[in-house]
């Protein structure tokens, strides 16, 4: 079983799940780092449009305010929300985020209402 006839999972069995059903701890670590970057970016956007006064005040731009005050932050989220997301076809309506196409370039933080 060497060279071209080497036994690999696809040649031996045929069925191979290339994405494990759960994320590794390193995938989770990198996901948290990316989420923290998004949090920092949102903070910069908020600070740039914030009025000169003190305190947590509205910028007058609903979308930026939503990101700052409603969009969940990485350190406020439960692990189940960080690593899984809503999916209407999945069992129990939850799906691991690493099964979503382009998952490293998207945010999955807000769940549907009543979920």
């Amino acid at each position: 079983m060497f060279g071209p006839f080497k036994g690999t999972l696809p040649t031996l069995g045929g069925l191979l799940w290339k994405r494990s059903w759960r994320m590794s701890k390193d995938q989770k670590f990198r996901l948290r780092k990316r989420m923290q970057l998004v949090d920092r970016n949102i903070e910069v956007l908020y600070q740039s449009l914030k009025p000169a006064g003190e305190g947590q005040v509205s910028t007058g731009h609903p979308k930026i305010d939503h990101l700052k005050f409603v969009f969940p932050k990485e350190n406020e989220m439960k692990p189940v929300d960080k690593y899984t997301t809503f999916n209407k076809n999945a069992k129990n309506y939850r799906k691991a985020v690493h099964h979503v196409p382009k998952w490293t370039k998207l945010s999955f933080r807000e769940n549907p209402k009543y979920f």
Binding site: R40, N41, I42, L45, S48, P51, A52, H61, K102
Partner: protein
């Protein structure tokens, strides 16, 4: 009134992720922000329209608030590696 009214601030935008595989709206926003590929840096004036553009691409870029934009030459100078020596006295014949 925004804090930017007192002094014009700039966004320093560093593209950290490629736009490969992203939808046309995201690609277009990245292009308009002056970014072409990963690790490009672009400076844009702080404004609500730019902020909303950045909100669209917040997963792909790293944003900082700075007072002054830097020129391409300044950015290149910052990347120049340490030559490993200090020029004490220049040779007059070569000047």
């Amino acid at each position: 009134m925004s804090s930017a009214a007192a002094k014009q601030m700039y966004y320093k935008i560093l593209q950290k992720r490629s736009v490969i595989g992203m939808p046309p709206t995201v690609r277009r926003n990245i292009e308009i922000l002056g970014l072409k590929k990963r690790f490009d840096i672009s400076y844009q004036k702080v404004s609500p329209s730019t902020a909303h553009r950045l909100a669209k691409v917040k997963e792909l870029v790293e944003i900082e608030l700075v007072d002054e934009p830097k020129t391409k030459e300044q950015l290149k100078e910052e990347r120049r590696p340490n030559p490993g020596f200090v020029l004490v006295k220049a040779n007059p014949n070569t000047q």
